[in-house]
Every structure is written in structure tokens, then in C-alpha cells.
């Protein structure tokens, strides 16, 4: 069945691109929406029989078996949701239908790439799909071809090439020891082989490659530039899911199942996580640009995920994965609002904004929900995942990390409330008053932001249900 996620979209795109252009341009949007909603449906109801038999025979076409466990299902769900949001936002920000046609194709390719990463069980095909996602995101960033976009795209390209080279380097060294490149084979090989310097070097290089992709602090240079440079629809995709799937999910999958956990890697992850929380939050505090602030904020939130993952306990990892889902939701919510603001005002400079929620009530209120969920205010989803992470930290004895993580959420509160006040509350500056079209944005923006806000609230409120259905199965994976 998993091949459906990757195969069908590809054939769809091939079909779309070949014959009569005019017809396709109209239907490409709805085709993409159909594909993503099928993916959402699949991930939610993957136990039901329909999926098992119906699509079983397609899998036989591929001799490779896929690693579909609840961890991948959550990621697939996030990918589908965020791509859907980005799709609907792009419909409004890119007016020209031909441009939008190309945009949607690239978006679908990025989605294929991410789906591939999530379901692959082979280290090298992981590299291949990472490269696909990276490449399509580079092109998406450079979509508008203005100077900023090109600069952001180029930086992303260079850094991600460095990362892939590191990964290839480590795969080559690992092949010295392991006969094949699939996770199980490598894991077995690494278990018997003694802790030799070369293997550890390979592991180190691979992990750093993933850190660059994930945008954690010492390696995060490209992230703010790429997010601000990208067109708003793409920055939703990037912030919401791309860095998390390429960087964080791969780290979890590789460390937990291939390289195996030991105290040293745990403390490394904990340190990097904490470091990125602090630096991300501090840097976000002084930002003048809305998207750049949100970029740093996502670095800080990713730091929480890595911190949670670094505890090594099943609860910590489950909390980390749950935070990935939550972060995908409320970060893309914030970026949707940023896109709406940018669409209406033309710039995302915080100093020129103010009192927007009077003219754009829905955007204002949903961004409040997003802000509160990011800071981890009780009723909303963000609180629960952060709580799980901090409990895991506490149980595993890392009291110092736990306390600093809690204190850092004060910093988060500071810069996000600052942003909220500068952008949405306060009074409307003069030059914005007479701006004729400063009114609420169309349904392409409000619909996704409302849906995302609803998701955040419902996950937060029905947390016990969500905890059993999603988080507990994840814990079981990491249990062994």
C-alpha cells in the first residue's frame, strides 16, 4: 500500500505535464488536493481493510518492503496537512495560472520526496529522497527569481549539498563494515563491529549532515535566510514539514533503529537541543522581520524536539514525535497568518505593522491561538507535548536540562507576544489606514488557518484520546 503514496502522484504528474496544457492548468489544483486528501484518509484509517487488500498488489510490484509504523503514519499525516495548507495558500499568492501549474507540480514532487523519506528502509534511498526534497525546495524557494529568493535558494542548496556529501561519505565508510545499505543490515553490522574510530567518524558525519538539514543551532545559518526568502506558500511548507522530515525524522529513524542509542549520543542530542532552544529563542527576541522571527522560533521548537528525543526514554521520544506533529500544525498556522499579512501589506517588517487584528480579525485570532500553542499554554496542544518532553527529562534524571527548557518557554512567550503585539494588537499606523484593500483575506488563507487552529485546540482538549491513539503506539516502537 505505501507505494500508493509515492507512485500514484508521480504518474499523475507525468500525465498532467504531457498533453493539452490549458485543461491541466485548471484541474491541477483539485488533483493535488485529491491526492493529499487520499493520503490524509489513508494515514488516519490505515488499519481498515480497504487499504490492505485493495492496494496490496501494487506493493508486490516493488520488491522493497517499506517501513510503515506509527511513526511514519504521523509524519505522513503532517506532510499531507502542511502540503494541503501550502497548496491552498499558493492558489492565492501566485496569480498567474501557468506559474501556479509549475508551482503545484514542484510541490507534489516535494511531497513525493518526503513520502519517500518517511517510508524508506534503506539508508541510500533515504539519501536519494532527501536529495529530491532538497532540490524541489530549492527550486520552490527560487520560484519568484528576485534577488532575495535566489540568495536564499543558493544558500540552502550549498548547505544541503555539504550535508548530502557528508552523508554519502559516511555511507561509503559504513559499507566497509556492512554488506548492504538497508537499516536492518547496517544495524546488525554495527552491533557486532567493535567501536572503531572510522565507524564512529562515519556516524558523527552522518549525524552532522542531518543536523544541517534539520537546521539545529551551530548548523542553522541557512534556515532563517531560506524561510524569509521563500514565497510565503513555500515558507509554510519549509517551516512546517520539510526541515522536520529531512532533519529530525531521519535523525530519529537512523539513531533509534540503525546506529543505536548510547549515553554519548544522548548527551550530544540533549546539548544540541538545548543549545538551539536558547540561541533560537534569543535570536528571535530581537527580530524586526515577521518571517525571520518565526524561522528562529521554529529553530527553537525543533530544539525541544531534539531535547525530547535526546532523553532516550520511550516517553521522551514519543513526546518528541508528538511535538513534531504539534509544531507542524501551529508553525504552519503562524506562517499562514504571516502570508496573509504579507499579502495584504506587501512587507513582513514588524515595525511597519500594528493593530492589524482590527481589519483582519480571523487572522489575528488564529495567530493568537498559534502563539499560545507555541508557548505551551495549557488548553492547547503545544502544552501537552512540551509537558511530555519535560516529564521525560525529569524522569530520566536530567533536572538541569528540564529546568532550562521550562525557563526557555518564558523566552518563547516573550518574543511571540512581542510579535503578536507589534503585528496584530497596538494601533494601526497611519500609512496602513488608507490602504484600500486592508481587509480580511480570502478563504484560501482563513480556511486553512481556522482548520489548523481547530486541530491545535482539539488535540489539546482531547489530549487523553490523542495520547492513547497516537503517542502510546509510538512509545511501543521505541520500546524494543
Amino acid at each position: 500500500m505505501p507505494s500508493l503514496l509515492v507512485l500514484i502522484p508521480l504518474f499523475g504528474i507525468i500525465l498532467l505535464n504531457l498533453p493539452f496544457r490549458r485543461l491541466n492548468e485548471k484541474y491541477v489544483f483539485w488533483f493535488a488536493v485529491f491526492l493529499l486528501s487520499v493520503q490524509i484518509l489513508f494515514t488516519i484509517s490505515h488499519h481498515s481493510l480497504f487499504w490492505q487488500q485493495g492496494m496490496g498488489y501494487i506493493d508486490s510490484f516493488f520488491k522493497v518492503d517499506f517501513a510503515i509504523d506509527s511513526l511514519s503514519f504521523i509524519m505522513l499525516l503532517c506532510i499531507a496537512i502542511v502540503s494541503m495548507v501550502s497548496l491552498s495558500v499558493s492558489r492565492y499568492t501566485i496569480p498567474d495560472p501557468r506559474e501556479r501549474f509549475k508551482f503545484i507540480n514542484l510541490l507534489m514532487i516535494a511531497a513525493i520526496g518526503m513520502n519517500g523519506i518517511v517510508i524508506t528502509k534503506d539508508l541510500f534511498s533515504l539519501y536519494v529522497f532527501l536529495e529530491i526534497t532538497a532540490l524541489s525546495s530549492v527550486v520552490l524557494i527560487a520560484f519568484q527569481k528576485d534577488m532575495n529568493a535566489l540568495e536564499g535558494a543558493f544558500k540552502y542548496l550549498i548547505l544541503s549539498s555539504i550535508a548530502t556529501i557528508m552523508m554519502l561519505f559516511s555511507i561509503a565508510l559504513i559499507l566497509l563494515v556492512s554488506p548492504g545499505t538497508s537499516f536492518a543490515v547496517i544495524a546488525a553490522a554495527l552491533k557486532e563491529s567493535p567501536n572503531s574510530a572510522v565507524i564512529i567518524f562515519a556516524m558523527g558525519i552522518f549525524i552532522c549532515g542531518l543536523f544541517i538539514k534539520g537546521g539545529l543551532v551551530p548548523f542553522h545559518g541557512w534556515l532563517p535566510d531560506a524561510y524569509t526568502a521563500a514565497p510565503s506558500a513555500v515558507s509554510i511548507l519549509l517551516a512546517g514539514i520539510v526541515t522536520k522530515v529531512c532533519g529530525i525524522y531521519t535523525a530519529i529513524r537512523v539513531i533509534a533503529f540503525v546506529f543505536g542509542f548510547n549515553e554519548v549520543i544522548k548527551s550530544l542530542f540533549m546539548f544540541i537541543g538545548l543549545f538551539s532552544i536558547l540561541i533560537g529563542a534569543l535570536a528571535a527576541l530581537g527580530q524586526k522581520d515577521l518571517k525571520r522571527l518565526l524561522a528562529y522560533s521554529s529553530i527553537s521548537q525543533v530544539g525541544y524536539i531534539i531535547l525530547g528525543f535526546g532523553t532516550g526514554t520511550a516517553l521522551g521520544m514519543a513526546g518528541a514525535v508528538f511535538h513534531i506533529f504539534n509544531h507542524a500544525v501551529f508553525k504552519s498556522l503562524l506562517f499562514v497568518n504571516a502570508a496573509a499579512v504579507e499579502k495584504r501589506i506587501g512587507s513582513s517588517d514588524l515595525d511597519r505593522m500594528g493593530g492589524l487584528s482590527y481589519r483582519m480579525p480571523i487572522t489575528g485570532s488564529t495567530s493568537v491561538i498559534g502563539v499560545l500553542s507555541t508557548c505551551g499554554i495549557p488548553p492547547l496542544a503545544g502544552f501537552w507535548s512540551k509537558l511530555v518532553i519535560i516529564i521525560a527529562l525529569w524522569q530520566s534524571g536530567h533536572y538541569m536540562y528540564g529546568t532550562i527548557a521550562v525557563l526557555a518557554s518564558i523566552l518563547t512567550l516573550a518574543y511571540l507576544l512581542l510579535m503578536q503585539r507589534k503585528a496584530f494588537f497596538g494601533k494601526l499606523p497611519k500609512e496602513l489606514e488608507n490602504l484600500k484593500d486592508l481587509k480580511e483575506v480570502g478563504p484560501e488563507f482563513t480556511l486553512p488557518s481556522i482548520i489548523l487552529a481547530m486541530i491545535t485546540i482539539s488535540v489539546g482538549v482531547f489530549f487523553p484520546f490523542v495520547f492513547d491513539k497516537f503517542v502510546v503506539p509510538i512509545k511501543s516502537i521505541f520500546m524494543q
Binding site: 516493488f62 522493497v64 514532487i109 519517500g116 541510500f124 529530491i132 532540490l135 572503531s196
Partner: protein, 162 residues
């Protein structure tokens, strides 16, 4: 084994020339030469398919792409070229020293042989591996080629309006 070392040294020289070459065209040519030397090395390390691929794609295709890119880019006027090259030499004069130093260190230390690389008894042929075992990668390649095509369309097409 000595022939390998000679080839490796040739490769290093070609790389140095690519990196330090004054004009961009010379750099691309240097790149082609290194790629040729590498494919020869590959032949010697009995992986012919990879060598052929390397030769045809890297030496051929990428060089063509670079040459076309360079031609699209406005060449520097002669005067500017001299200024740039002089400045380049200043910056690049450390490279050879660095390379030699690094070669000595790498040679001296080498890899700690505290592990035993495995020796797979029956290694299957490239074709079987590529087509039967690595199908998912092939699929990946198809997707990336399409992505590349779209990227080219997006990046190279002039904006009509402007």
C-alpha cells in the same frame, strides 16, 4: 598499485589546476580531466559500469552544462580579468601547501585499522543490483529527473512581462 598512485597524483594535479585556473573555461576543462582520470581509476578498481557512467556524464554532460552556463554569463573584460586573476593568485597560493601538508599527514596516519572490513563472498552483478534490489532508487532517479526538468523550466525561462 603504483599505477593507481600515479593516477591519483595526476588527479590531484588536475584538481589543483581546476581550482586555481585563472579563467573559468580552463576550470571546467580541468574538471573534465579530473573526471577522466577518476573513470580510469574506476576501471582499475573493476567497477567498469560506474567508470563508463562517470566518463560520459561527468566528463561530458556536466562540462557541457558549465560551458553553456559560462557562455551565457557575460565574460569579464580583459582588464578586469587581469585584476581578478592577480587577486585570485593571492588568495589561492596557500592551497598547494595545504594539499601537500595534508597528503603527508594522511599518508603518515592513515586509517586506524582497528576493524576488519567484510568480504562479501558472492557479490552480485551491477545489473541485478540496480534493477532488482535498488528499484526504489531508480524510481527516485526518475522523480529527480522530472524535478530537474521542472527546475530548468522555472529557472531558465525568461519572465515574459519584464
Amino acid at each position: 598499485m603504483t599505477i593507481n598512485i600515479i593516477l591519483l597524483i595526476a588527479m590531484t594535479i588536475a584538481t589543483l589546476w581546476t581550482v586555481m585556473g585563472r579563467s573559468l573555461l580552463k576550470a571546467t576543462l580541468g574538471l573534465a580531466v579530473t573526471s577522466v582520470v577518476i573513470s580510469v581509476l574506476m576501471f582499475r578498481l573493476d567497477s567498469p559500469m560506474a567508470a563508463v557512467f562517470e566518463l560520459s556524464v561527468c566528463a561530458g554532460l556536466i562540462t557541457i552544462i558549465f560551458v553553456s552556463a559560462i557562455s551565457l554569463v557575460k565574460p569579464l573584460t580583459h582588464k578586469e580579468a587581469i585584476v581578478v586573476s592577480k587577486d585570485r593568485m593571492k588568495r589561492f597560493r596557500y592551497l598547494p601547501l595545504l594539499v601537500i601538508l595534508f597528503g603527508v599527514i594522511a599518508g603518515f596516519f592513515g586509517i586506524p585499522n582497528d576493524f576488519k572490513p567484510i568480504y562479501v563472498a558472492l557479490a552480485n552483478d551491477v545489473r541485478t543490483v540496480l534493477w532488482s534490489l535498488r528499484q526504489f532508487d531508480m524510481f527516485g532517479q526518475i522523480v529527480i529527473i522530472i524535478a530537474g526538468a521542472l527546475g530548468v523550466v522555472v529557472l531558465f525561462r525568461e519572465k515574459e512581462k519584464r
